[in-house]
């Protein structure tokens, strides 16, 4: 079970969180023309990386904040975590 450092609450076990997928996906702006390809990439197409992956988790049984977690998908090592509005450098 992963041990995730919630930037708001501290170290918490995985069972307090729910997974939210790739954090690098950006929703297209509202009210703009979007091609089929762009929209498909946003809704469906994901990379399924092996290695470092920036992903979303929600601390659903805690502070309810969505956070970003930088995790290795092969080893499960967690490198850094960020608040929802924090820029990931």
């Amino acid at each position: 079970m992963l041990y995730i450092n919630c930037p708001h609450c501290g170290m918490r076990s995985q069972n307090e969180f729910s997974y939210g997928g790739d954090a690098s996906v950006k929703r297209p702006e509202l009210n703009t023309e979007i091609s089929d390809k762009e929209w498909d990439d946003f809704v469906y197409n994901r990379k399924s990386l092996r290695g470092k992956h920036l992903e979303l988790w929600q601390h659903i049984s805690g502070c309810r904040q969505w956070i970003k977690v930088e995790r290795d998908t092969a080893t499960h090592e967690i490198f850094r975590t960020f608040k929802a509005d924090e820029e990931v450098a």
Binding site: M1, L2, Y3, S13, S18, G20, R27, P28, L30, N31, I34, W39, F42, V43, Y44, L56, Q58, I60, R64, Q65, W66, T75, H76, I78, A84, D85
Partner: protein, 998 residues
């Protein structure tokens, strides 16, 4: 009564307390502190089971977790548990056990005919034989294999025992209380670290209980007892026996199974049977020791052949001699330690050593005791069927290929030692890449992967002095990092006998003209010849060889067989063992009860049960409850002998004619506040929200980004920047997360807060033509006329002194209102509604009537919004704004979603107006068409229309728009029904929606 194989004195059992037990129907006795295995051996019982495939007689091979044979069916306190290792089961008064894998009895087993047919049952036999004809599999092969295979039988009764889960954090977790674990725990504890020390056996001390060593001028056993006693007094230390750490998971999470009650005749009141510990440890010291491995020889599965370390343990811990004429067969000094113990207790062993001329302090001691030692000698085969009677032995050449003349010597047991295999399971599970250590012919942990360190025998270090030194140091260093204390501990001096190098010899060659079975894996009957077949047939990867032959599978997971299997593969393949590699070690290390894994989450505890504030009223009024997500909701209120159908019909009818009241507390409620609240709603819902006035409610549909309907509900503008959103009962949590996602990540610039208020409000839906009259009486000071409170209107009111929110919304399609009060007043509100409603013939109605009402109105719910439908499919396209953008809008342009003959909701009526259509039935054009009959749609919900008094269903039907008036068939293979039906509008009752506005 004396026991033939129990020595006069000695052992760690309590001879003052006799315990009687039953094995295969026969009465025996043992002592407190015995295991079932030691007690049976004390009584001279060696035959305990039959093997898995050939049904050969099986005895005891080990004395603990590695035991491959002695798996029994246990009976305790009216319950039965399969696959218990007799070597681990502690004896208690009244214990009962039976052999498995034999019928009709262990002494006469019909399946043993497989032993004589064994040339027809080689590796892969089942795979090859039972493949064809295909139709034979279900009827003949599978039932046969099921009867023939398997070990014990699981109980079919409800398990009365309780199992608990516990979460724990610690600085240092130690797996195993042998010398390494004790030293590490002691040093860390002295530095103030929070330590958990786990031991799977009942007694602490590991190898110190049986070894002849001295630590700090006392015996190893006494030293261990002293350390444990001191650790137990320290507040920062938890010592747990009967506790097996069986899994090492991510981020230093380990799981331990504590057997709280298995050693007692019955579980004590308020105690669990087992407790599962989830332990998050900062550091882990793996001191799990090592397991002796056998040398392979002919008929090496005969009862009476056992590990030499097990024989020593039975003697030193339990005071049991496993034989009066033991033969010790060894390739290292450990066999001598066992021989010396036999000799000290007046039993004369013969030692066969495969080495030419070994020399060490231990061997010298054996020689001084005048033990008969034969060097360069091996056991070729054991003789005897149900028990070893003699052994064929021979000298062996230096290259281990040639056997000398075969002699037969009398013996009643063969104690075999092929050196030691470190227990590296936990390190390997943690992700540690193990490495092969030539000197010991075994794998040891390599570079640490997580915060784990492996020491002592588990790390291939068999010197006690070295083990204590490294373990004390590790305990200090690891704890110092955490507690920043540095209390120096003097490492005690150690007296141990030096041993000599073991012989890299693991398998006795077959003598010419003999075809003895030489077993590698005793639990699964995998012999040398089986692995040879697998390799001959082209299996190369050790993982494939394992699966083809079953080598290393089942309850012992190859603890005694893995390395010999690898040796064999490497020899035939002409590779070195490390390049063959080992199979993956996966948790659990040893079998864990399913009950322990499930814990308290059984029955009603498997999920939370939520009850509305009116629950006790429902109970008192004969409500029959149904699970709705985590909620318990009244399905109907039974009157007299009514069944569900009659009761719900009565309730629904009363709503259509008078007035009914339904508990709608369970609906999800979300409070939305902030200057951008309207903008959020406008983006989340498909329809327009910017112009909704204060005091008005609106129905809305929200989509996922892929265009599929996520949920529906009404949202009411309470004040300028304050909205009250309702969701379906099932989707409440998802909708809240959905809103939080967009507010926190996508549109953080929106100034809005959302919070769940589901449990803060109790809700009652009042529906029916007389609902307004009732409402007026409930709120005499409010103007609830059609003008004062029009359809989709909202107002606050005073309900006999309680502040209430009144919404004019309707799910039933009737004139209806929903009244909310703070939860604590829920029951007050409900009782008032019932009391005041009496003159209007009010009746409470449950979810079944609620469904009936919404179905015949064509209102969609969860069975239509099933994660596969878009707004058009639910006839909700009128709510999709063309002007503004919203979540999922772009997806609605997908070609499949705009197809001319897109699926759409319709009503379905059986032609005979009698037969109810099972939900889930398929709609087809031709009921006689060959299978697979093309499916045009499916029945999503069914009811008995109280308006027309005939069955009515909703369906999602291909090209539903153009299908009205068509005749189709509803087919339910599950219910074996074919029903001719007519397709009608989904709005079966009041299609213009006049009632809700009346």
């Amino acid at each position: 009564m004396t026991q033939a194989f129990r020595i006069e004195n000695g052992g760690l059992i309590n001879r003052d307390k006799k315990l009687s037990f039953k094995f295969n129907g026969k009465n025996y006795f043992g002592y407190e502190g015995d295991t079932l295995a030691s007690a049976l051996l004390a009584n001279g019982v060696h035959l305990v089971g039959r093997s898995f495939k050939y049904h050969r007689p099986r005895g005891f091979f080990g004395a603990g977790v590695d035991e491959p044979y002695a798996v029994v069916q246990l009976y305790r306190n009216g319950e039965t548990e399969p696959n218990i290792k007799a070597t681990e089961q502690e004896l208690f008064e009244g214990l009962e056990a039976k052999s498995v894998n034999c019928w009709p009895s262990v002494n006469f087993d019909i399946g043993a005919i497989n032993n004589f047919l064994r040339i027809f049952l080689p590796a892969g036999f089942y795979y090859k034989t039972f493949m064809w004809p295909k139709s034979f599999w279900y009827r003949i092969y599978e039932p046969f294999i099921r009867k023939a295979a398997g070990l014990g039988v699981a109980s079919t009764k409800h398990d009365k025992e309780r199992y608990e889960h516990k979460y724990e954090h610690c600085d240092l977790l130690i797996a195993g209380s042998g010398p390494s674990g004790l030293a590490g725990a002691y040093a860390a504890a002295k530095n103030g670290a929070k330590v958990i020390l786990a031991e799977d056996k009942p007694r602490f001390g590991g190898s110190l209980l049986t070894s002849d060593v001295n630590i700090g001028n006392q015996s190893g056993k006494d030293w261990a007892e002293g350390i444990i006693a001191e650790l137990k007094t320290m507040p920062n230390v938890v010592v747990k026996n009967r506790s097996q750490i069986f899994g090492y998971y991510d981020h230093n999470m380990l799981v331990m199974s504590e057997k709280v009650s298995d050693h007692l005749p019955s579980t004590k009141k308020y105690h669990p049977n087992k407790r599962l510990w989830y332990i998050r440890a900062k550091e882990v010291l793996i001191s799990s020791g090592s397991i002796e491995r056998p040398i392979v020889f002919g008929n090496n599965d005969t009862p009476g052949v056992m590990l030499s370390s097990a024989a020593k343990e039975y003697l030193k811990v339990y005071g049991v001699v496993v034989g009066r004429k033991p033969l010790v067969f060894t390739n290292n000094d450990s066999g001598y330690e066992t021989a010396i113990e036999f000799k000290k207790h007046g039993v004369d062993p013969v030692v066969l050593d495969s080495r030419i001329n070994p020399d060490s302090e231990i061997i010298d001691e054996a020689k001084n005791l005048e033990i008969n030692i034969k060097n360069s000698y091996v056991v070729v085969a054991a003789q005897g069927y149900k028990k070893v009677k003699s052994a064929d032995i021979a000298s062996i050449s230096e290259d281990k290929k040639q056997l000398g003349k075969i002699e037969n010597i009398q013996c009643d047991c063969i104690c075999v030692s092929g050196f030691w295999t470190p227990t590296i399971h936990l390190a390997s599970q943690s992700g540690n890449k193990t490495k092969f250590k030539e000197e010991i012919d075994a794998f040891v942990p390599g570079q640490s992967k997580q915060n784990e360190i492996t020491l002592g025998a588990a790390n291939g270090e068999f010197s006690l002095e070295e083990t204590l030194k490294t373990s004390f140091t590790a305990g200090s260093e690891l704890s110092k990092k955490i507690t920043e204390n540095d209390n120096k501990i003097a490492i005690p001096n150690v007296v141990e006998k030096k041993s000599s190098q073991h012989d890299k010899f693991w398998c006795v060659p077959l003598p010419k003209g003999k075809s003895y079975k030489r077993f590698l894996d005793f639990q699964n009957d995998v012999a040398v010849s089986d692995v040879e077949i697998a390799l001959r047939e082209g299996y190369r990867s050790i993982e494939h060889v394992k699966r083809y032959t079953t080598l290393g599978m089942a309850t012992d997971q190859g603890k005694t067989s893995n390395l010999n299997g690898l040796q064999l593969v490497s020899e035939i393949e002409n590779k070195v063992v490390p390049s063959v590699g080992h199979t993956t070690f996966r948790p659990p290390y040893t079998p864990v009860s399913i009950g322990a894994i499930v814990g308290r989450e059984v029955g009603k505890h498997s999920k939370p049960t939520r009850k509305s504030p009116m629950h006790s009223w429902h109970e008192k009024n004969n409500a029959v409850f149904v699970d709705a997500g985590v909620w318990l909701r009244p399905r109907y209120y039974r009157r007299g002998n009514e069944n569900l159908f009659e009761g719900s019909k009565r309730e629904a009818k009363n709503v259509r004619t008078n007035v009914g009241v339904c508990d709608v507390t369970t609906l999800g409620k979300i409070d939305i506040k902030g200057p951008d609240a309207a903008e959020l709603l406008n983006r989340v819902y498909t329809n327009a929200w910017l112009k909704l006035p204060v005091g008005k409610a609106r129905y809305g549909v929200m989509l996922r980004e892929d265009g599929i309907v996520m949920d529906d509900g009404t949202t009411t503008r309470i004040s300028e920047n304050h909205y009250h959103m309702t969701t379906t009962t099932a989707q409440a949590a998802n909708v809240l997360s959905h809103l939080e996602y967009y507010l926190q990540l996508v549109w953080p610039e929106l100034n809005v807060n959302v919070v769940s208020t589901t449990e803060q409000w109790a809700g009652a839906a009042i529906a029916g033509p007389k609902s307004r009259d009732l409402l007026q009486k409930l709120f005499p000071n409010s103007n609830v006329s059609n003008e004062g409170l029009p359809f989709m209107g909202y107002m606050e009111g005073d309900l006999f002194g309680v502040k209430a929110r009144i919404y004019r919304i309707s799910f039933s399609g009737e004139l209806a209102y929903e009244v909310n009060v703070e939860s604590d007043y829920g029951n007050f509100m409900w009782e008032k509604i019932i009391e005041v409603g009496e003159e209007f013939n009010i009746q409470p109605y449950g979810t079944e009537a609620l469904s009936t009402l919404r179905i015949e109105m064509g209102h969609v719910a969860g069975s239509e919004l099933d994660g596969r439908t878009i707004p058009y499919d639910n006839a909700l396209e009128g709510l999709v704004s063309k002007k503004k953008d919203f979540i999922g809008k772009r997806s609605l342009q997908r070609s499949a979603f705009i197809e001319e003959n897109r699926q759409r909701i319709v009503g379905v009526v059986p032609l005979d107006k009698q037969t109810s259509i099972p939900e889930g039935s398929h709609l087809v054009k031709d009921d006689k068409a060959p299978l697979p009959n093309p499916k045009l749609g499916h029945i999503s919900a069914s009811c008995w229309s109280v308006e027309y008094d005939n069955p009515f269903s909703l369906a999602i039907l291909k090209d539903g728009k153009n299908m009205i008036g068509q005749k189709l068939f509803a087919m339910s293979p599950l219910k074996n029904k074919v029903i001719p039906v007519e397709i009608v509008s989904s709005h079966y009752v009041d299609p213009k929606g006049e009632r809700v506005r009346s």
